[in-house]
Symmetry: C2
Subunit: 302 residues, 2 copies
């Protein structure tokens, strides 16, 4: 083992993903571990890193991580950088642990017009990996807490979080809807599309979610369709709201880059089309590419 | 025991409340039992009724019930009456069980402009008990599933449900917010008022609820304040949305009658004031008074 230029680590709450990157910035090798920070007790981060790296541990390449490893519950808290956040500000804000052997990318903070903060940790790096230095892009990272961000020529201008995935899981796993819904993997089927259409139309979310119950009661949604319709409603409403958020700031919202490659990202692509927007797909391993750019800016690459 | 004119029963999912009413339509005596329909197994409704009535069981007065006892999970399903629903339609739709000894009020169904149904069972009776025959009133019944309804001279014109209470409980008891919030009884304190102001302003709910987390992270909400702020946000948004729903149908929304007398109803009164609306309080024992009116219309009172 040797000859790599960067060891890039996307270190989140439930998993850690490490990449050995070559001199061209391409991913040469990838490792996934369940050693997310929630599984690491008593501050034993250094042994966790050694386990994650395995036989890469003697590789002299610099190591750069992003994600919840830099949070209050992580190895060290890397203070949030304020939006609009430049690549240079992220590189300047790197925190260092393990006698300087590991650098950690800070998260981002922004405040809306009411002064309420919003935060991200890890997604800023994916954004910089998925949006080129000359592009201006509205991007979404679908998930438990979906992040929408505007990235403009290497600057994360602003972002906002939607708790779409968490609301979906709470309503189905612990709410009254769960009793009448089969909890199968959601599909981009007809019930999902009906939900999306309901979502992209104006409405009151706390009222509209009740429709999953009443449509099941009336027999208009059966079995797994209840979950699909609810998924469509929540994603559709998120897309509608995020479009309004983007336009409200004088930015474009016709074209959205989806960062992610799983079934959820596929459902967002379908829902964006229903909403009359154009869906683009981001590159794979966006975190690795973002870490590469930040490492370059920070002078870590030799 | 004897001499009563009606035995009125508000029979819900988790509790049953029985009233002996005199010839003036006043409540002479009241009984509460935990024998909600969720606690009654194997269709043993007749013994449950006997237990609820106790020494009233030999009273020859007619018996009229409302609530989930008339649902598919109850004693017998009393088919929904469509909105706009008159007092006469409710009286005509009574279902009968126990060899005709108990009559049950049907629930209501309505459909919004998308054709999505909404339903209520029990609240229609409270509405008719809390709104006089000559009044036109926008009313709210706060709860796990808050109901907003417009009642116009004895007719329930239309209604809509908000899952506000359920969303609040799900987010705090099972969601990520619960880890940073003390789950104390919500109070109409400063944090609640801040939440209400955020709620009555336009916003994307699935985004705005994330503010409870970020305001806690930044130390702007501490301990029990997180729950109060979230309660305010959800109630404030419900009030804003319900006002828009009412105005969208060409109805007034300046004055709202709150049907309920608990701490939650008090918080709605505060929130309505913050939203610039006038809060009125409904009568106590609204279900008993509604059952009295329906019984009179159905010719049950002698």
């Amino acid at each position: 083992v040797g000859g790599s230029t960067l060891i890039a680590i996307d270190w989140g709450t439930t998993a850690a993903r490490a990449y050995r990157m070559d001199a061209n910035g391409d991913v040469a090798e990838e490792r996934v571990s369940p050693l997310g920070i929630a599984r690491i007790g008593n501050g034993r981060f250094a042994p966790a890193l050694a386990e994650l790296l395995g036989d890469w541990r003697d590789d002299p390449a610099p190591r750069l991580a992003c994600g919840m490893i830099g949070s209050r519950q992580g190895w060290v808290e890397a203070p949030y950088v304020e939006c609009p956040a430049t690549l240079a500000a992220l590189a300047t804000g790197l925190a260092r642990v393990d006698d300087g052997a590991l650098a950690i990318v800070p998260g981002l903070i922004t405040r809306d017009r009411h002064g309420v903060p919003d935060v991200m940790r890890g997604e800023e790096t994916q954004l910089l990996g998925a949006v080129g230095a000359d592009e201006a892009v509205l991007a979404v990272l679908p998930g438990t807490h979906s992040k929408w961000a505007y990235v403009e020529r290497g600057v994360v201008t602003d972002f906002a979080t939607w708790m779409t995935g968490e609301l979906y899981a709470l309503l189905l796993d612990h709410g009254i809807l769960g009793r009448m819904a089969e909890r199968t993997a959601p599909a981009a089927d007809d019930a999902f599309l009906r939900g999306v259409r309901r979502g992209v139309d104006a409405g009151a979310l706390a009222h509209d979610v009740f429709g999953a119950r009443t449509l099941a009661l009336s027999g208009e949604l059966v079995g797994g369709d209840v979950a699909d319709w609810l998924s469509g409603l929540l994603i559709g409403r998120e897309i509608r709201d995020a479009g309004a958020w983007s336009r409200g700031a004088g930015r474009a919202a016709e074209r959205v880059r989806i960062i992610g490659s799983d079934a959820l990202a596929d459902r967002y692509a379908v829902a964006l089309t229903v909403a009359g927007m154009t869906a683009e797909r981001g590159v794979a391993a966006a975190a690795a590419h973002g870490l590469w750019r930040i490492a370059g800016q920070a002078g870590l690459l030799h």
